[in-house]
């Protein structure tokens, strides 16, 4: 007799916007996102404290609207904290977030935020840059209030599965995987976009605005390699697990993170929603997704290989 296994529905999250877009474009993007078939939306500036076109009150207002549209909203904290004013902004994010009407959780992206959130008794999301590489660290995060974690983007499926299998039984935590978008790979005090334009970081003239999907860095033989996004360095290729969607549950993935891109994010979300609902098969996804992607796909990290590698489904991994 065939057993019918209850299949948990994969949740879809819109990750924090990693780029710097105009205020109008950003607001319009989230206004549209309110109508997209997403479960969770992350808001806030995680990359650069100089980006100011949206301030905390703006993000909180968006949080209200998205909450009203039925999304779970999470406020993401800045990844690289350098100054006292960065810390002030972080404290305000935590405090004002709590007072917001729908009490959005905060995604902690460095351990100072974890400390402040735990001190305030807030549940939180443990972001990908906390470097939770083993079950001891993950269990500690859960104990401090993390209800969901995002593995480091380089973590392979086997490791994620082993991590979850080794957690104490009393530990309950959701796992959210970075599943679509240019991979955030590195952070620096230096702004590489300003450097490209021979500008000082403190007088960067906000050139990130001109590169809404990042600025591609190629090898000297023309191979697109990385993408510059201010102080952040991303992959030039777009990480995509659309073709491996059916592999996600076995690794314990509860939520798939889709990272915002400048154009046709609605189409990307729709395809992943169709995957989650079982309306299209993973092997059909690449052909549908291809024309909406700003660059070629990669999936190497998932398979424990170089992140830039790509293995089409059917090819040996």
């Amino acid at each position: 007799m065939e057993m019918i296994k209850p299949v948990k529905r994969m949740k879809l999250a819109l990750g924090p916007l990693l780029y710097y877009w105009s205020r109008e474009d950003t607001l319009a993007f989230y206004q549209q996102a309110a109508g997209w078939p997403l479960d969770i939306v992350y808001l806030g500036e995680t990359v650069c404290s100089r980006r100011h076109l949206l301030r905390l009150p703006d993000w909180l207002e968006l949080a209200e609207k998205l909450g009203a549209a039925g999304k779970e909203v999470v406020l993401s904290s800045q990844t690289l904290i350098e100054s006292e004013s960065d810390l002030k902004a972080l404290r305000k994010l935590i405090a004002d977030g709590r007072e917001g009407g729908n009490h959005p959780k905060v995604e902690a992206n460095e351990w100072g935020a974890v400390r402040l959130l735990a001190e305030a008794g807030c549940e939180f999301v443990a972001g990908p840059t906390l470097n939770a590489y083993n079950p001891d660290t993950l269990a500690m995060l859960a104990e401090m209030g993390a209800t969901r974690w995002v593995p480091p983007v380089e973590m392979p499926r086997e490791t994620i599965r082993d991590m979850l299998a080794a957690l104490p039984e009393s530990t309950h935590i959701e796992t959210e995987l970075f599943g679509y978008g240019r991979l955030p790979l590195a952070f620096s005090a230096r702004c590489f976009t300003a450097r490209h334009y021979n500008l000082q970081k403190d007088d960067c003239q906000f050139r990130c605005l001109d590169h809404p999907d990042g600025l591609v860095l190629a090898s000297r033989e023309g191979e697109d390699f990385l993408a510059i996004n201010g102080i952040q360095t991303q992959s030039a290729k777009v990480m995509s697990l659309a073709h491996r969607f059916d592999e996600l549950p076995a690794a314990g993935i509860d939520v798939l993170r889709l990272s915002p891109q400048w154009r046709q994010m609605d189409r990307v979300v729709a395809i992943f929603r169709a995957l989650a609902d079982g309306d299209i098969a993973p092997k059909e996804a690449p052909a549908r997704l291809d024309r909406f992607m700003p660059a070629a796909p990669c999936d190497g990290y998932w398979l424990g290989e170089a992140g830039m590698d790509y293995h089409p489904v059917g090819a040996p991994a």
């Binding site: 006292e84 100072g112 470097n131 380089e154 230096r190 490209h196 090898s219 000297r220 510059i228």
Partner: protein
Amino acid sequence: MTAALLELICPAGSLPALKAAVDHGADGVYLGLKDNTNARNFAGLNFDEKSLADGIRYAQARGRKVLMALNTYPQPATLPRWHKAVDTAASLGVDAIILADPGLMAYARKTHPQLRLHLSVQGSATSYEAVNFYRERFGIQRAVLPRVLSLAQVENVIDHTDAEIELFGFGGLCVMVEGRCLLSSYACGDSPNTFGACSPGHAVRWEQTPKGMETRLNGVLIDRYADNEKAGYPTLCKGRFEVQGETYYALEEPTSLNSMEMLPEMARLGIAAIKIEGRQRSPAYVAQVTQVWRAAIDAVKRAPESFKPTPAWTAALAKVSEGSMNTLGAYYRPWK
């Protein structure tokens, strides 16, 4: 007098390097085991238990400290290796272990409560809130700050924590926040966080071509050198790339950090220790750099107001530095 702090912590990639550091005036050395439990996991480097015991004996007999780096991130399948390394460090009597992973810190704290803990630069703690997290939770005595803060920002950290602060003074420069850089694993599968090495040797290829010497990392062209240029190791953030039709060191030039002229300010701030990078370098390098920095730190302690690096020190350090600014020409841009 805070200047009494300013310990000189030097790299020991081998027993001869350790002895060179101790003999030339290091207050302490840092080292790691021959595996991926530390962030300089390169063939031919580092210590086994016997050389570690010998090194500890050599340094401690001369009143110097041995700090052991266990500063990669253990993963579920290999966690026991890191635990064993912590146990080894404790049983052999190192003066401190340098850790990045909170889970490993919890283990060390519980299993060896007397063992002194330092937060590694790989822990990416750039604010006092982060430093104080490790301080409160695991009782770390010292934090090594990533090479991203201005001295004013460092001062702000020091003003708000009881933990000692150690800074990098000299050597290879990571342009990215340490512990938050996955460029290497993106290109070749191994990152400093998990494998303990950036741009590891097994993925590197050197090839003389009609266009010049080419260096590749897992096939990606990192740089190409004209005949009059000295080819450098293909650390991928220090290659020349093309951005919007312009070819240049898009992320970082192959330069070394040298903060010697800031020593008086570091002394004034109460920096506990200055770290010299370079466990992958030779004992001769360690001897040379240690000697110069010993002289400089002693000079700062004697007379901070009149301190100035001497031309002889500067020349000695320039000779052993990685890369050269000479080939950069119009590509030079001020840092940040």
